[in-house]
Amino acid sequence: MNSVLQEIYATILPSAPFVIAAYALVWLVLFVYVVYSMTRFKKVESQVGLLEQSLSGMEKTGDATASVLK
Protein backbone atom coordinates (compact mmCIF):
# COMPACT_ATOMS: atom_id res chain seq x y z
CA MET A 1 0.00 0.00 0.00
CA ASN A 2 1.60 3.27 -1.10
CA SER A 3 1.43 6.58 0.71
CA VAL A 4 -1.31 8.05 -1.50
CA LEU A 5 -3.59 5.10 -0.84
CA GLN A 6 -2.82 5.43 2.84
CA GLU A 7 -3.91 9.05 2.72
CA ILE A 8 -7.07 8.21 0.79
CA TYR A 9 -8.10 5.64 3.39
CA ALA A 10 -6.80 7.65 6.37
CA THR A 11 -10.19 8.44 7.97
CA ILE A 12 -11.87 5.09 7.31
CA LEU A 13 -10.52 3.15 10.29
CA PRO A 14 -10.76 5.98 12.89
CA SER A 15 -14.36 6.70 11.89
CA ALA A 16 -15.46 3.06 11.86
CA PRO A 17 -16.25 2.87 15.61
CA PHE A 18 -18.48 5.94 15.31
CA VAL A 19 -20.35 4.58 12.30
CA ILE A 20 -20.85 1.21 13.98
CA ALA A 21 -21.91 2.89 17.23
CA ALA A 22 -24.44 5.06 15.36
CA TYR A 23 -26.11 2.06 13.74
CA ALA A 24 -25.98 0.07 16.96
CA LEU A 25 -27.59 2.93 18.90
CA VAL A 26 -30.51 3.24 16.47
CA TRP A 27 -31.06 -0.49 16.81
CA LEU A 28 -30.76 -0.30 20.59
CA VAL A 29 -33.27 2.56 20.93
CA LEU A 30 -35.83 0.76 18.78
CA PHE A 31 -35.20 -2.48 20.68
CA VAL A 32 -35.77 -0.78 24.03
CA TYR A 33 -39.05 0.65 22.76
CA VAL A 34 -40.21 -2.74 21.50
CA VAL A 35 -39.39 -4.28 24.90
CA TYR A 36 -41.31 -1.46 26.60
CA SER A 37 -44.32 -2.05 24.34
CA MET A 38 -44.16 -5.77 25.11
CA THR A 39 -44.14 -5.19 28.87
CA ARG A 40 -47.15 -2.88 28.51
CA PHE A 41 -48.90 -5.57 26.51
CA LYS A 42 -48.04 -8.23 29.10
CA LYS A 43 -49.50 -6.06 31.83
CA VAL A 44 -52.79 -5.79 29.94
CA GLU A 45 -52.70 -9.55 29.31
CA SER A 46 -52.35 -10.27 33.02
CA GLN A 47 -55.30 -7.94 33.64
CA VAL A 48 -57.38 -10.04 31.27
CA GLY A 49 -56.26 -13.12 33.22
CA LEU A 50 -57.48 -11.51 36.46
CA LEU A 51 -60.80 -10.73 34.80
CA GLU A 52 -61.22 -14.36 33.76
CA GLN A 53 -60.44 -15.50 37.29
CA SER A 54 -62.94 -13.19 38.92
CA LEU A 55 -65.50 -14.16 36.30
CA SER A 56 -65.14 -17.89 37.03
CA GLY A 57 -65.28 -17.08 40.76
CA MET A 58 -68.57 -15.26 40.17
CA GLU A 59 -69.96 -18.20 38.24
CA LYS A 60 -69.15 -20.54 41.15
CA THR A 61 -70.86 -18.32 43.69
CA GLY A 62 -73.71 -17.97 41.23
CA ASP A 63 -74.04 -21.78 41.10
CA ALA A 64 -73.92 -21.96 44.86
CA THR A 65 -76.75 -19.47 45.29
CA ALA A 66 -78.69 -21.26 42.58
CA SER A 67 -78.38 -24.60 44.40
CA VAL A 68 -79.37 -22.99 47.70
CA LEU A 69 -82.44 -21.53 46.05
CA LYS A 70 -83.42 -24.97 44.85
Binding site: T11, F18, Y23, V26, L30, Y33, L55
Partner: protein, 253 residues
Protein backbone atom coordinates in the same frame (compact mmCIF):
# COMPACT_ATOMS: atom_id res chain seq x y z
CA UNK B 1 -63.59 7.87 32.70
CA UNK B 2 -64.64 10.06 29.85
CA UNK B 3 -68.17 9.24 28.81
CA UNK B 4 -67.71 10.33 25.24
CA UNK B 5 -64.80 7.99 24.55
CA UNK B 6 -65.50 5.90 21.50
CA UNK B 7 -63.61 2.66 21.18
CA UNK B 8 -60.81 2.90 18.63
CA UNK B 9 -61.35 0.62 15.66
CA UNK B 10 -58.99 -2.30 16.14
CA UNK B 11 -58.20 -5.10 13.72
CA UNK B 12 -59.45 -3.14 10.72
CA UNK B 13 -57.61 -2.15 7.60
CA UNK B 14 -55.12 0.03 9.49
CA UNK B 15 -54.00 -2.91 11.63
CA UNK B 16 -53.77 -5.39 8.77
CA UNK B 17 -51.71 -2.77 6.96
CA UNK B 18 -49.62 -2.11 10.06
CA UNK B 19 -48.42 -5.71 10.19
CA UNK B 20 -47.50 -5.70 6.49
CA UNK B 21 -45.83 -2.30 6.83
CA UNK B 22 -43.85 -3.36 9.88
CA UNK B 23 -42.52 -6.39 8.01
CA UNK B 24 -41.80 -4.37 4.86
CA UNK B 25 -40.14 -1.65 6.93
CA UNK B 26 -37.84 -4.18 8.58
CA UNK B 27 -36.88 -5.63 5.20
CA UNK B 28 -36.42 -2.18 3.66
CA UNK B 29 -34.17 -0.88 6.43
CA UNK B 30 -32.09 -4.07 6.25
CA UNK B 31 -31.78 -3.66 2.48
CA UNK B 32 -30.84 -0.01 3.03
CA UNK B 33 -28.21 -1.06 5.57
CA UNK B 34 -26.64 -3.52 3.11
CA UNK B 35 -26.81 -1.12 0.15
CA UNK B 36 -25.27 1.67 2.23
CA UNK B 37 -22.07 -0.28 2.74
CA UNK B 38 -21.94 -2.04 -0.63
CA UNK B 39 -23.51 -0.04 -3.46
CA UNK B 40 -23.59 3.60 -2.26
CA UNK B 41 -20.51 5.38 -3.50
CA UNK B 42 -18.37 6.89 -0.75
CA UNK B 43 -18.32 10.65 -0.32
CA UNK B 44 -14.97 12.30 -0.92
CA UNK B 45 -13.29 14.64 1.53
CA UNK B 46 -10.03 16.57 1.58
CA UNK B 47 -7.59 16.40 -1.35
CA UNK B 48 -4.63 14.08 -0.98
CA UNK B 49 -1.15 14.57 -2.41
CA UNK B 50 -1.57 12.22 -5.36
CA UNK B 51 -3.98 10.26 -7.48
CA UNK B 52 -4.57 6.53 -7.34
CA UNK B 53 -6.61 4.11 -9.41
CA UNK B 54 -9.20 2.30 -7.28
CA UNK B 55 -11.52 -0.04 -9.16
CA UNK B 56 -11.94 1.81 -12.44
CA UNK B 57 -11.87 5.36 -11.04
CA UNK B 58 -9.06 7.81 -10.43
CA UNK B 59 -9.35 8.97 -6.80
CA UNK B 60 -7.56 12.10 -5.60
CA UNK B 61 -9.43 12.75 -2.36
CA UNK B 62 -9.96 11.06 0.98
CA UNK B 63 -12.82 8.59 1.07
CA UNK B 64 -15.15 9.16 4.03
CA UNK B 65 -16.86 6.34 5.88
CA UNK B 66 -18.41 8.65 8.48
CA UNK B 67 -20.95 9.89 5.94
CA UNK B 68 -22.63 6.45 6.09
CA UNK B 69 -24.23 7.57 9.36
CA UNK B 70 -26.35 9.94 7.32
CA UNK B 71 -28.29 7.08 5.65
CA UNK B 72 -29.93 6.30 8.98
CA UNK B 73 -29.69 9.72 10.63
CA UNK B 74 -31.92 11.70 8.26
CA UNK B 75 -34.68 9.04 7.93
CA UNK B 76 -35.13 8.68 11.70
CA UNK B 77 -35.20 12.49 12.03
CA UNK B 78 -37.93 12.74 9.38
CA UNK B 79 -39.87 9.92 11.08
CA UNK B 80 -39.74 11.78 14.42
CA UNK B 81 -41.09 14.94 12.78
CA UNK B 82 -43.90 13.04 11.02
CA UNK B 83 -44.86 11.43 14.33
CA UNK B 84 -45.00 14.88 15.96
CA UNK B 85 -47.27 15.94 13.11
CA UNK B 86 -49.54 13.11 14.27
CA UNK B 87 -49.48 14.58 17.79
CA UNK B 88 -50.62 17.97 16.50
CA UNK B 89 -53.25 16.40 14.20
CA UNK B 90 -54.81 14.28 16.95
CA UNK B 91 -54.56 17.26 19.31
CA UNK B 92 -56.72 19.28 16.92
CA UNK B 93 -59.11 16.34 16.51
CA UNK B 94 -59.42 16.07 20.28
CA UNK B 95 -60.21 19.76 20.74
CA UNK B 96 -62.85 19.49 17.99
CA UNK B 97 -64.57 16.33 19.23
CA UNK B 98 -63.59 15.96 22.94
CA UNK B 99 -63.17 12.25 22.22
CA UNK B 100 -60.63 10.68 24.61
CA UNK B 101 -59.48 8.26 21.89
CA UNK B 102 -57.76 11.09 20.05
CA UNK B 103 -55.92 12.10 23.19
CA UNK B 104 -54.64 8.54 23.57
CA UNK B 105 -53.53 8.52 19.94
CA UNK B 106 -51.78 11.89 20.34
CA UNK B 107 -49.94 10.57 23.38
CA UNK B 108 -48.80 7.46 21.54
CA UNK B 109 -47.66 9.53 18.53
CA UNK B 110 -45.52 11.60 20.89
CA UNK B 111 -44.14 8.43 22.43
CA UNK B 112 -43.07 7.09 19.02
CA UNK B 113 -41.69 10.52 18.18
CA UNK B 114 -39.58 10.49 21.35
CA UNK B 115 -38.09 7.13 20.35
CA UNK B 116 -37.06 8.45 16.95
CA UNK B 117 -35.81 11.73 18.43
CA UNK B 118 -33.51 9.76 20.71
CA UNK B 119 -32.28 7.72 17.73
CA UNK B 120 -31.65 10.95 15.79
CA UNK B 121 -29.76 12.47 18.69
CA UNK B 122 -27.62 9.32 19.10
CA UNK B 123 -26.64 9.10 15.43
CA UNK B 124 -26.13 12.87 15.24
CA UNK B 125 -23.85 12.76 18.26
CA UNK B 126 -21.65 10.13 16.61
CA UNK B 127 -21.37 12.22 13.44
CA UNK B 128 -20.69 15.44 15.37
CA UNK B 129 -18.04 13.78 17.49
CA UNK B 130 -16.10 12.40 14.54
CA UNK B 131 -16.55 15.04 11.84
CA UNK B 132 -16.63 18.22 13.88
CA UNK B 133 -14.53 16.89 16.76
CA UNK B 134 -16.93 18.00 19.51
CA UNK B 135 -19.75 16.36 21.45
CA UNK B 136 -21.99 19.36 21.18
CA UNK B 137 -22.09 22.68 19.33
CA UNK B 138 -24.81 25.34 19.32
CA UNK B 139 -25.42 25.07 15.61
CA UNK B 140 -28.92 26.34 14.65
CA UNK B 141 -30.12 22.93 13.38
CA UNK B 142 -28.80 21.10 16.42
CA UNK B 143 -30.26 23.70 18.74
CA UNK B 144 -33.76 23.76 17.23
CA UNK B 145 -33.86 19.97 17.20
CA UNK B 146 -32.65 19.88 20.79
CA UNK B 147 -35.45 22.17 21.94
CA UNK B 148 -37.85 19.92 20.02
CA UNK B 149 -36.68 17.11 22.27
CA UNK B 150 -37.11 19.31 25.35
CA UNK B 151 -40.68 20.09 24.27
CA UNK B 152 -41.46 16.38 23.95
CA UNK B 153 -40.07 15.90 27.47
CA UNK B 154 -42.21 18.86 28.55
CA UNK B 155 -45.26 17.22 26.97
CA UNK B 156 -44.87 14.15 29.18
CA UNK B 157 -44.06 16.24 32.27
CA UNK B 158 -47.26 18.21 31.64
CA UNK B 159 -49.29 14.99 31.31
CA UNK B 160 -47.85 13.68 34.56
CA UNK B 161 -48.72 16.92 36.39
CA UNK B 162 -52.48 16.92 35.73
CA UNK B 163 -54.79 14.46 37.47
CA UNK B 164 -58.15 14.89 35.74
CA UNK B 165 -58.26 12.98 32.42
CA UNK B 166 -60.31 15.56 30.52
CA UNK B 167 -58.22 18.51 31.63
CA UNK B 168 -54.99 16.60 31.01
CA UNK B 169 -56.13 15.77 27.49
CA UNK B 170 -57.00 19.42 26.74
CA UNK B 171 -53.73 20.81 28.06
CA UNK B 172 -51.66 18.14 26.32
CA UNK B 173 -53.47 18.77 23.02
CA UNK B 174 -52.84 22.51 23.25
CA UNK B 175 -49.17 22.03 24.04
CA UNK B 176 -48.81 19.41 21.30
CA UNK B 177 -50.19 21.87 18.76
CA UNK B 178 -47.93 24.78 19.73
CA UNK B 179 -44.88 22.54 20.07
CA UNK B 180 -45.36 21.47 16.46
CA UNK B 181 -44.47 25.02 15.32
CA UNK B 182 -40.85 24.13 16.00
CA UNK B 183 -40.89 21.24 13.50
CA UNK B 184 -40.96 23.34 10.31
CA UNK B 185 -38.50 25.76 11.93
CA UNK B 186 -36.06 22.95 12.65
CA UNK B 187 -36.57 21.55 9.15
CA UNK B 188 -36.07 24.89 7.40
CA UNK B 189 -33.39 26.41 9.63
CA UNK B 190 -30.40 25.28 7.55
CA UNK B 191 -31.88 27.21 4.64
CA UNK B 192 -32.88 30.28 6.71
CA UNK B 193 -29.51 30.66 8.41
CA UNK B 194 -26.81 29.87 5.83
CA UNK B 195 -24.05 30.08 8.44
CA UNK B 196 -25.21 26.74 9.83
CA UNK B 197 -22.54 24.06 9.49
CA UNK B 198 -25.19 21.37 9.20
CA UNK B 199 -25.44 20.22 5.56
CA UNK B 200 -28.65 20.90 3.61
CA UNK B 201 -29.82 17.68 2.00
CA UNK B 202 -33.36 18.03 0.69
CA UNK B 203 -33.07 20.14 -2.45
CA UNK B 204 -33.31 19.54 -6.16
CA UNK B 205 -29.60 20.05 -6.79
CA UNK B 206 -28.34 17.96 -3.90
CA UNK B 207 -26.03 16.14 -6.31
CA UNK B 208 -26.94 12.74 -4.94
CA UNK B 209 -26.40 9.97 -7.43
CA UNK B 210 -29.00 7.18 -7.77
CA UNK B 211 -26.74 4.70 -5.98
CA UNK B 212 -26.94 6.96 -2.89
CA UNK B 213 -30.57 7.91 -3.34
CA UNK B 214 -31.86 4.32 -3.43
CA UNK B 215 -30.51 3.27 -0.01
CA UNK B 216 -31.59 6.62 1.44
CA UNK B 217 -35.16 6.21 0.18
CA UNK B 218 -35.28 2.56 1.32
CA UNK B 219 -34.19 3.69 4.75
CA UNK B 220 -36.61 6.64 4.84
CA UNK B 221 -39.70 4.65 3.87
CA UNK B 222 -38.54 1.70 5.96
CA UNK B 223 -38.36 3.81 9.11
CA UNK B 224 -41.67 5.52 8.39
CA UNK B 225 -43.29 2.09 8.08
CA UNK B 226 -41.65 0.86 11.29
CA UNK B 227 -42.86 3.99 13.07
CA UNK B 228 -46.42 3.38 11.89
CA UNK B 229 -46.28 -0.30 12.82
CA UNK B 230 -45.03 0.44 16.33
CA UNK B 231 -47.65 3.15 16.75
CA UNK B 232 -50.49 0.81 15.74
CA UNK B 233 -49.21 -1.88 18.08
CA UNK B 234 -49.29 0.63 20.95
CA UNK B 235 -52.80 1.77 19.96
CA UNK B 236 -54.02 -1.84 20.05
CA UNK B 237 -52.46 -2.42 23.46
CA UNK B 238 -53.94 0.75 24.95
CA UNK B 239 -57.34 0.03 23.37
CA UNK B 240 -57.29 -3.41 24.96
CA UNK B 241 -56.41 -1.82 28.31
CA UNK B 242 -59.42 0.52 27.96
CA UNK B 243 -61.72 -2.43 27.22
CA UNK B 244 -60.41 -4.34 30.25
CA UNK B 245 -61.10 -1.28 32.42
CA UNK B 246 -64.62 -1.03 31.04
CA UNK B 247 -65.37 -4.72 31.75
CA UNK B 248 -63.95 -4.32 35.27
CA UNK B 249 -66.31 -1.43 35.90
CA UNK B 250 -69.22 -3.54 34.66
CA UNK B 251 -68.33 -6.43 36.97
CA UNK B 252 -68.05 -4.11 39.95
CA UNK B 253 -71.56 -2.82 39.37
Amino acid sequence: MDRSATKPAVGGLADKLALVLLATGTVLTTVAFILTFTVASPVIGAKVSGVELIGDQMIGNQLLLSQKIFYFHMPVAIASMVALGGTAFFGIRFLMTRDAVYDMKAKLCTEVSLVFILATMATGEMWTRFEWGVWWTWDPRLTTYFILMLMVFGYFVLRAAVEEPERRATYASIFGIIAFVDVPISFMITRLIPSSIHPVVFRTDSGMSPDMLVPLMCSLFGFLMIAFGLYRFRVRTEALALRVEAVKDQIDE
